[in-house]
Symmetry: D2
Subunit: 266 residues, 4 copies
């Protein structure tokens, strides 16, 4: 099989388009890539992210050049911070000759956590999402999201029952826009402090007793959970916007309880 | 175990709340429920939906009453149309004493489709989503979404290769707001007419030949696919807003090509 | 585009193969199809199934004919019982000229269930899987599986804590082989009777109190849950083999507790 | 809240059980944990795994001690090789006083791959699974699985069509038992050499031309794909058992083509 010289291969994407329809976002989705994240405690954490990279496409171009999105990620290298995401976006805008670029990625994030009584150390896993947009006018938007599993114990069930109270694993999806760079760890801790209890990967019996009793003493509805987190967020001057979503995998139902609060702060 | 009389059980949800935080949406999520959908051809189609039902909660109430969401669905019965979704929302607002109610549900939807040459009949499956909101001022918002799998054949690959062209299954997520009720079938057909080829569940050899050649003669980038659908939507006076998202499960990559166009029409 | 007459199209699948490698199973996977299931209470239940249909392929054939799997399903019609699955398998073997045929399908299944105190009626959803194999010697193997969500309350947490006990949604995957046809409902009920509590879609406050207290009085480890179900299965002469798998979505961890017991009975 | 001294907390798990039912496997499931894998090219690769760790439980014990599974993983540290999985299993058996221990884990695995013409370098992602069992008699079973995405081009579609041929992303799940430790890279390469084409994360236009034409020249049915891999495996004396499963995400259907071959070699 004889290959044509590279300069003769038709560049279909660069052809003009006559439909007069600009495309809001075009690019690559579900690209898995190993990354390193700076964390508060241990400096560098290796993990694996799932990326979506897109740009806008003006109406007069037939197509974008998909391989350049992958090149931009390769050129950047594995080290990703909240403060260098913008470089990737600027590189994307440059390579794709576009006005706007967007990046979204999600990755598992780990924290060493001590059990509350014995101090036994385990690795607790979370999911983190970053979404950012930059344009040619220097505008830059960044949303950080932490997905935090927690315990929720039902206040109604506790109030009406002679003993016990139904409780379950819940999941909080907490997104923020901020003024100054913010630590993932601090967002996670904020969420965990608002639930019936935080979760642990390693609990010995004295820890299990403490966690069980703590949850029983701190019942929260899914409504309380999102309100507690909203109230805590309102106290943080660094947070300029937040969205709190909570979902309880009810232990007494096969469907989930769900609540969401969103707030733009002045 | 002796049960207390029902009237004495504490109603924790009805207690006042002092955090001054109204909740945007609260309710139940991932509730599976059998439904019936009116379709164009066969009058009634039985399927299974996954529901999210929510209302707003004013700041002064501690919690909503989760069981009433399930009751509202039960009372309504299985028959769901585009034109009676509003009744469910009004019933939710009434039962929950709330200003706004939202419903979202997703279900598999089937169409009998004839193979292009032999006419062999197969059942083709799609996914449909409805999302609607109603409030006390009589405002009503309805978004219908069809998720349609299609064939896409790459124009660049065809143009530069001596023979063949990479193609793959793609997926279009097409959402519309409309003036008059609209048939799911028509939305699906609009999408399918814009791809390299539509898909079939049953193809005999003459059909496979026809479909292969049709795709080769109609190459589309993911950009072309969303533009074709946008251009077709622009011709429909009944569509007042649309969002077209296309994702190609590239046969030459392990990531996907992706594009989106959204338009509010006057 | 001129189509060749159907009789001239090359039948690649029918060509001989020289690699001397018979294929254990070949066919179609993830085919969604609407079906009807006979249930104990309401005669007919409409639902949607996901099918895998396969046959063995002798070493001397290059390929199977994929469209015939879809045809066999179409010919059969939507009504599927435990006792007519065999017809589909025999039809598959005949149409594909094969010695062995296999079918696997999974579908949501619903039961009307009364809340334990108020008697309020809700639709509870389950997942059911059927897997069957038939060969030319008249051998027929059928495995029915029910996936049942339940409440589990931790005996250790209850024993060591001053108040409360962690509990959570658990999921039991219970598979059986049997002598006489068996009702899905009976398999579900057997599983539900072995947990801390069964789940409901609709619970009013007196019901929630009853369910909370019932779970507190019936703590089970994941080990107890599979043993209870195994012990109950051992009492059913109609069950000739069972496999019980339980997974607890622990409310105090972000990982799950898991146990499995399998038994061939003489 | 006053905590009881640790030595007084009841050990419910250690209580005797009278149901006479031994449990085949009990432990923890879906535990996410960061690991490091030795790879052929770069010595160490950091990734994130999802673990299931289980042991058998004799009939006379009420429960296992779930926290010890997490401790065993913690004690071991992040570095996991094919040749030290056994240490983890032996540690599990020791800590849990059990006869048999099992480990299963899955993780994304990356390879730098050069595009076929331009040599442009991209990171290609795969999924790897390890499953191992050890018992007190020194028996040790290890199964390595690679999940490899590939291009498949349909021989029938090519043979009957005037131009083009439908092709799509396929996925091969290839499991082996072996005599001597085996490199993940070699298993991946074996699979990729048997498809119409391997996949790349980064392809420039000359590469896309080459890959398109290569696929057109190497059509494979899902049946050919599993047979090619089986035939290649038969040539490897180090492989003592294999199972090859292939699934094509057909570009002309919304269901998948599927085949599987399994072989125990003497």
């Amino acid at each position: 099989m004889e290959l044509q010289p590279i300069q003769h291969l038709k560049d279909t994407q660069n052809e003009p388009d006559y439909r007069q329809i600009p495309i809001d976002r075009v690019g690559v989705k579900n690209l898995r890539y190993p990354i390193q994240i700076r964390d508060k405690a241990r400096a560098i954490q290796s993990t694996v992210a799932q990326f979506t990279l897109t740009v806008d496409l003006p109406h007069h171009y037939k197509g974008t050049h998909m391989s350049r999105f992958v090149e931009a990620l390769n050129e950047h290298g594995p080290m990703i911070h909240i403060d260098n995401v913008r470089e990737i976006l600027d590189r994307l805008r440059e390579k794709l000759h576009s006005e706007k670029a967007h990046i979204e990625f999600e990755f598992p994030f780990f924290l060493e956590k001590k059990a509350p009584v014995t101090g036994a150390v385990g690795m607790m896993d979370y999911t983190v999402q970053f979404a950012a947009t930059a344009n040619g006018s220097g505008e830059f938007d960044f949303v950080a999201t932490v997905i935090v599993p927690v315990t929720t114990l039902c206040p109604c069930s506790k109030a009406i029952s002679a003993y016990g109270a139904h409780n379950q694993r819940g999941q909080v999806t907490y997104s923020v826009r901020f003024h100054q760079p913010i630590w993932i760890e601090d967002l996670i801790q904020l969420v965990e402090s608002c639930a019936s209890s935080e979760l642990y990967s390693l609990l010995k019996r004295p820890d299990e007793k403490a966690v069980t009793e703590r949850a029983y003493l701190n019942p929260v509805f899914v409504e309380d959970l999102v309100r507690n987190i909203a109230a805590r967020s309102d106290l943080e001057p660094n947070i300029k916007w937040y969205r709190v979503e909570a979902e309880n995998f009810e232990s007494i139902h096969n469907h989930n309880a769900y609540a969401v609060v969103e707030k733009e702060r002045r």
